[in-house]
């Protein structure tokens, strides 16, 4: 019988930052589709994503990609499959959208001949054709996040990490961004770190709840939510009980 391999698997992960244990014995499983990493501000979401990207060193535990451990030195093969939109990423105001995407493509060590077509694909996928020659400084906050998402998904990465991508967007922009995330999740693993229940309700099929560096829940959103239909209120009730009740997974 063939063993099913979870694309991204985090087991027993401990991460220290500044001598303090910020991630404690964390577990996360992410398969194709959107996996929400849900938790209040300061819960350890960014640290967990940082451990996956290699930004923060892993104290103990392991991170696997397609069954291969990647928590030591990041292999080029793993990095080539990874896309990341950090929470605080900005680009120089005078940079043009096409230049941002060209740089993102260059970072993936794409052959010079293929770079132009990769940029075109990213513009199309991100619905940025009308913004391609605009300077970043001329874009609205929502448009800048779209550029960031497009930059995170250039060269067709199989795993995309999004850290609070909808913070600062108005409801309409957020709704549009949710559509883009759902669209980007087609055939990919997306891990969406957020503290907004709307993000989870609108995009995620799996959820991992993290609080004070500890994972409290790993599973399907359906199993987590109080309501049969996944609603923000249902998620709020479940999260409230989880955060105030006894620790359980």
């Amino acid at each position: 019988m063939q063993q099913v391999v979870t694309p991204v698997l985090v087991e027993g992960l401990n991460v220290r930052r500044g001598g303090r244990l910020v991630i404690e014995d964390a577990t996360l499983e992410a398969s194709t589709g959107v996996t929400a990493l849900l938790g209040p501000n300061g819960a350890g979401k960014t640290s967990l994503l940082g451990a996956i990207t290699g930004q923060f060193a892993v104290d103990s535990g392991q991170i696997s990609w397609q069954g291969q451990r990647v928590d030591g030195r990041r292999s080029t093969a793993f990095l080539a499959t990874l896309g990341w939109l950090p929470q605080t990423l900005t680009f120089p105001r005078r940079m043009r959208v096409r230049e941002v995407l060209d740089y993102a493509v260059w970072l993936k060590r794409t052959e010079p001949k293929a770079r132009q077509s990769a940029v075109q694909e990213a513009l199309l996928a991100g619905d940025l054709e009308d913004l391609w020659d605009r300077r970043v400084g001329e874009l609205s906050g929502g448009e800048q996040r779209r550029v960031g998402l497009a930059a995170a998904t250039v060269c067709d990465p199989q795993v995309v990490l999004l850290d609070e991508p909808t913070v600062g967007l108005d409801p309409l922009q957020r709704e549009a961004f949710h559509r883009r995330i759902r669209s980007a999740a087609d055939g990919r693993v997306i891990i969406l770190a957020t503290h907004l229940l709307e993000d989870v309700a609108a995009t995620a099929s799996q959820v991992t709840v993290i609080h004070h560096g500890r994972v409290l829940f790993v599973g399907a959103v359906n199993d987590f939510c109080d309501d049969e239909d996944i609603t923000v209120d249902g998620l709020r009730g479940a999260l409230g009980r989880l955060l105030t009740g006894p620790t359980a997974t």
């Binding site: 940082g50 990207t53 290699g54 930004q55 080029t76 990095l79 080539a80 990874l82 896309g83 990341w84 939109l85 950090p86 605080t88 990423l89 900005t90 680009f91 120089p92 005078r94 940079m95 043009r96 230049e99 060209d102 740089y103 993102a104 260059w106 970072l107 993936k108 060590r109």
Partner: protein
Amino acid sequence: MRIFRGTRKRAWVALTAMLLLQGASVIWTSRAGWVGWMPAGGATLERTSLFGACILSAAVAWAAVSLRAHNAEPWARVGVRSVQGLYRGPFWWGLSASLVTNCVLATTVGVATRQSLTSLMLTRYLLSVAAVVAASACAAALGVLIAKFTPPFIAVVASFVLPYAIAIGLGAYLSESPVSAWAVPDLHAFDYAWPAIETPIFRAASLGSIAAAIVFELHRRTTLRKVALWAASAATAGLFFTAGMVQPIPEASSVECQGAVPVVCFDGTQDAIRAGYLAQLDDGLRELPRSTWPAVVTATEQQGAPEDAVALPPVEGKYRPSRTTPPGAVTAILGDVTFNTDCASPDRIQLSAAMTLWWRAHVGLPTGGGTYAGQNSFSGPEFAQARASISRLEARIAQHPDQVIADAATQLHDCSRPAQPLP
């Protein structure tokens, strides 16, 4: 514009223009110290790298720091590129601008010093060029390091100040230490003597190996980087060992004399000024009675000149002897020497001031200040009195020019003769 990769074309052009402007300024303002003399030309080229390194380092830091200033470095590192790969762009962007600048400046200085070209001088000049190029690579790498490791808001300023502080520290505070052999050489040190040939060889090798190690590190060639570092260690040890060794420049000491009365002598560093110098000297001598002409004139005060020689070194600014002949300088100095006095008598001092002022006016040079850069203005009390009586002196000289001038010159140089009052 790809600021993260540091390949902005317009910024590159601006940087090149800035480096060229800076280098050209240094070369032009110090021309009196090196034109026509290749050893000093090499030192001048190296002096252009003093502020050039500051500009280059700051520009590279400006291009490189944008990654961290926008919190983009962790994001970029999730790409497949190495950290070195991320910062390679700004390094080569800045260094290529510097290489173009150095080529232009080296060619300019080389052409302007070709009169003194010998194979040894050319070798030393090329060593200077190599040292400048290597120092540029070190400056660009310093910009990258500062951009990588200092707070982004201070990176550009720090990267401008640090190369200057290092250069000044080496030149001023560590001048007695062998470490100062890395410093930019003093222009005057190349007038008649220069460091032993081993020193510039080791200096170029030391800086070049360090630069090579930086390049290999940026291109992640570990073995080559190690080799370059070993080479840098050996070359630096050699540099420190040979630091301070000086030898005379043979071509500089060779004095050549020409003409009859007066005989005019030049040393090997003054080939470029001969024609202009002689023309000005002839202009001056025509206005003096033959009896006051010096028998031998030397254009420098160096050893090896005949004992009875009168030294008339051209001066420009702080450069003495100057390797250029400012208009009127030799004519003016001829008057200064002819009408100078070592006698303590007030009458003679007064006569000297009056004759000097008359000379300047007579040969059409200004009397209100210095005729050429670096010359004293005539501001003492004796000059104030001389100005008051200048018209009477002019009238007297007009009647018997040769007699009055010769008599005055004799009185000024022979303190034992009784002084005659001014007219």
